[in-house]
Symmetry: C2
Subunit: 105 residues, 2 copies
């Protein structure tokens, strides 16, 4: 894979996670969702910071501390500090949602 929009299976029972760059200090990951959401009551609580952008599709993130919802469409990005608890509340079932995440720190 040297194209973020290629090699997307038609059938995607689980989210697809692929590391495209890993330098030890920074890891760039492609994530493909298609109607997926985080499991009920599950919150990500990550050791690393994560800068993440939606490239195609649509998604809704939820942050626990202020119960904030963030709508994400193509080009929208957020920076999620380590241990800021969050979840993917929704991704569109209409098309694949391609994310690019930069994990660092």
């Amino acid at each position: 894979m040297n194209n973020l929009f290629s090699n997307i299976p038609d059938d995607l029972p689980d989210e697809l996670l692929e590391t495209v760059l890993d330098t030890g200090s920074v890891r760039v990951e492609r994530i493909v969702s298609h109607g997926h959401a985080s499991p009920e009551s599950f919150w990500y609580d990550q050791e690393q910071h994560e800068w993440v952008v939606v490239l195609t599709g649509a998604a809704r993130l939820r942050f626990e501390d202020d119960d904030e919802f963030v709508e994400m469409g193509p080009g929208n990005y957020v920076n999620i500090p380590a241990h800021k608890r969050h979840r993917v509340e929704w991704t569109t079932p209409e098309e694949p949602t391609v994310w690019l995440a930069v994990h660092y720190g």
Copy 2:
């Protein structure tokens, strides 16, 4: 700017470079080209490694050592090691080319 595809001026006399994340160890940059190319005989020779993806538009990179040309369209990415001399040979005049670059190491 919290959307990589927004705030693109209609008139772009020079390439637009904006840092969207800078952690000291990693810097994420949006670059917008619109028909721009590197100056004649100019080669980038960078201290840091650069992972770079084209999100919209089209571009042609050139690498000095093997005189290799790389065509870039939406989603295509390359990893350019530090001091690997390269230049932007061409970007399409038809539409803005939006790049996302991760500088590291």
